[in-house]
Symmetry: C2
Subunit: 441 residues, 2 copies
């Protein structure tokens, strides 16, 4: 290709942390292949980073520490926001969109919590705000939901969308280890932050689930309505009992659209060991999606890492470049996949959700206790699918119960009654069970 | 939405077999949801089908038996080709493109064997020829390779891309059954055709693999150069021995780009039982893709069926409709993902390919035979990774050998020498082994 006749698309990057660096190195290392795909050159012409060591940022003409200099550079076509957090990221993205620039961000918190505002600004300015890399790292799940499965009414999706949490649960299951013990190892390996609450309490997963639910069902982003429960209360015993019953425990984000409303929830979940999702181990991510036409499909891959996440950032850049080169009135695909969203679909509170449940009750090893527990469940119209009564280790014995489907608030009332029994000790452990029936929801 | 102000995109369908019917019913059943996504109505205004029973085709204004009437209808924006086979499908697609219409086809044979010609016609006329549904049914693998992973140099991909073959191998493995026995069951269940050779001899998979390799590496379609081997020679014994060694046998399509050239091949393959791909059972499809930035990702779902395949056809239609509504100079994405293809990448013959191998040798149960076999392998520089020598059932004993990597023609020479031994009976069974090292290729 003669460089004279070749168009070029100019990229500016704000923030050279892990993802920003991954993005820059992919654009530079795969420049020829990307130029062949586009029929144009993709060039990073300006970078804003706190570190101004030019040796660490080779091949970039303009290097500074002010992201707004990138946003205000008339030569920049596409701004990449890889700063993270809310400020100045929000302002950077907003100003870039206001300047008529397309923006690619990897910032899941920003999209999940302030995406509605930002997409409105993008629409006013007829530019793209792309965010493939904000969910499940290198897996192109946003594109799949927004385009690949666009023929479908999505019925539900369920994903392992936090690698740290999945690593911890995988290790606990494989080696019968305690949560705190594996968490410490994950921190040593660099899989978990010094403050791990974002990962293990489910906030990170809730950001991603909120985004996927919005695209899947065509509803506005509603992070505040996503139920979020972490994995710190899961014990090796629960993992063992679940295994005995043919299940494993995964930390899932689940979104479902039923006649009763929208479910958005992140919590530990028992799933059948035969499920492909049950075989997704370690730091990997995977999302199972059920559409009314296609049935169930699954998407697996690395959910984090510089180049894996950078792969998704650069895919967004290539998408936008292709639109630009085709002289499209961008965006070709609406930000959340819908030109006319379902504004009125109600999000159910966790109390209203129907689920099967795993219960672990620690009770006195006496005649009549199990009968009384069964009686209470029956009073609340909760039928039992399976029971394991373990050998007593002390005067107490663990009783494991799998229930059939029941509305959660009804189950909570039953649990309260059982906990009030004199012969029942401690609080009852309760984990939701997900059978993934195709016909549900 | 008031129908006055709403644009409409008009679709014509040629061929109402399984996929054509699935396509029509999705467009009709999900009309509202699709209209919300597009901000426009998608309407099927004309259908050509051999059956002219109007009751079977409700809601379509123009029904006839001539596909060229669809192709020549000025009101039709997008033509769907679901006739199958080469003629008249080729002529229908070519004329539609020549008329400036966008075409969506589910016809893998047509794309794999005559796609280069048809894409050239599409390009001349600046229209789309989309074919998502031609590979892996409802899994949006074409979009993933062409767009979702566009930042990457794809290093290799490997897929279970024929559901019939995977059903047969899954049943053989689960129940120790013979190939012919399971094939007959598959025919009774409707999973296999009366003439099953297209599926079990690997031609169907080779069509799909050819298409994926072309998009992955940016090379022209070269079906004639895809090595194709079926599963009819696989025995329950081989499946058992593989299992003992920690492997299962899957019928895979493998494409790899290495410094030595391009590999395109379909054959039974031993893969580690721990691989996620090894857990893909029954009629499901799954494709594992390795890119230089993202690493390994996997895509799983239904590879066939009216609505699953129709989901991919309608996704293509929605893509094109979105381009049209954005006034893009279509196609936004080049047919094979590249504006400037790698015209000169050499496709390796199967003889030139390096692989590990599983060998099953039936030899006399005598002292010295194993030593002689090892000696021959050593002569040809083939090192042994594992050996199982089974108890003798008669005077003959099966010897199972796993080799390290070797160029196939070298292995063939060694096999010839071993087969020439007086103490070796029958021909040697040879199955390729795929370790999926990320660093390979």
């Amino acid at each position: 290709m003669s460089s004279e006749s070749v168009k070029s698309i100019n990229v500016g990057i704000c923030g050279l942390g892990t993802v920003g660096n991954g993005t820059l190195s992919i654009i530079q290392n795969n420049a020829d292949e990307i130029a062949r795909r586009l029929g144009a050159e993709l060039r990073v012409i300006r970078v804003a980073t706190r570190s101004l060591n030019r040796d660490e940022v080779p091949g970039v003409a303009n290097l500074g520490n002010d992201p707004f200099a990138v946003v205000n550079d008339p030569a920049v076509d596409i701004v990449v926001e890889t700063i993270g957090g809310f400020e100045p990221a929000f302002e950077v993205v907003k100003q870039a969109l206001g300047n008529g620039k397309h923006v690619v961000t990897a910032n899941k918190a920003l999209i999940a919590e302030r995406g509605n505002e930002l997409f409105a600004v993008a629409e006013e300015n007829a530019v793209c705000l792309a965010y493939e890399s904000s969910v499940a790292g290198g897996i192109p799940i946003i594109k799949v939901l927004r385009e690949g499965l666009a023929a479908n009414k999505i019925k539900w999706l369920a994903g392992i969308i936090n690698g740290t949490g999945n690593f911890i649960l995988t290790e606990m299951a494989a080696k019968q280890r305690q949560f705190e013990d594996v968490l410490q190892q994950a921190q040593e390996l660099g899989y978990a932050e010094a403050d791990p609450s974002f990962d293990v309490e489910g906030i990170d997963a809730a950001h991603k689930l909120t985004i996927m639910a919005s695209i899947a069902f065509g509803i506005p982003l509603q992070f505040a309505k996503t139920y979020t429960e972490g994995i710190s209360h899961i014990t090796p015993e629960d993992i063992s009992y679940a295994k005995e019953l043919g299940y494993c425990i995964k930390h899932l984000g689940i979104a479902r659209l039923s006649e009763r409303g929208v479910e958005m929830r992140v919590h530990p979940t028992l799933i059948s060991s035969k499920q492909l999702l049950a075989n997704v181990d370690g730091v990997a991510n995977a999302i199972l999606v059920n559409g009314d036409a296609v049935g169930s499909t699954m998407y697996y891959g690395p959910g984090a890492g510089a180049e894996a996440t950078g792969s998704a950032v650069v895919a967004d850049i290539i998408d936008i470049a292709r639109y630009l080169l085709a002289d499209a009135k961008t965006p070709v695909v609406p930000a959340l996949g819908y030109r006319s969203m379902h504004q009125d679909l109600e999000v159910l509170s966790i109390d209203e959700i129907e689920s099967e449940f795993y219960l672990r009750i620690t009770a006195m090893d006496k005649i009549g206790v199990m009968a009384r527990i069964s009686g209470i469940l029956q009073e609340f119209d909760i039928s039992i699918e399976a029971v394991i009564q373990k050998e007593s280790i002390s005067e107490y014995v663990p009783i494991i119960i799998l229930t059939h489907r029941v509305v959660e608030k009804q189950l909570n009332q039953a649990i309260e009654s059982i906990e009030a029994m004199a012969d029942v000790s401690e609080s009852i452990t309760r984990i939701r069970v997900e059978p993934f029936h195709g016909e549900q929801g």
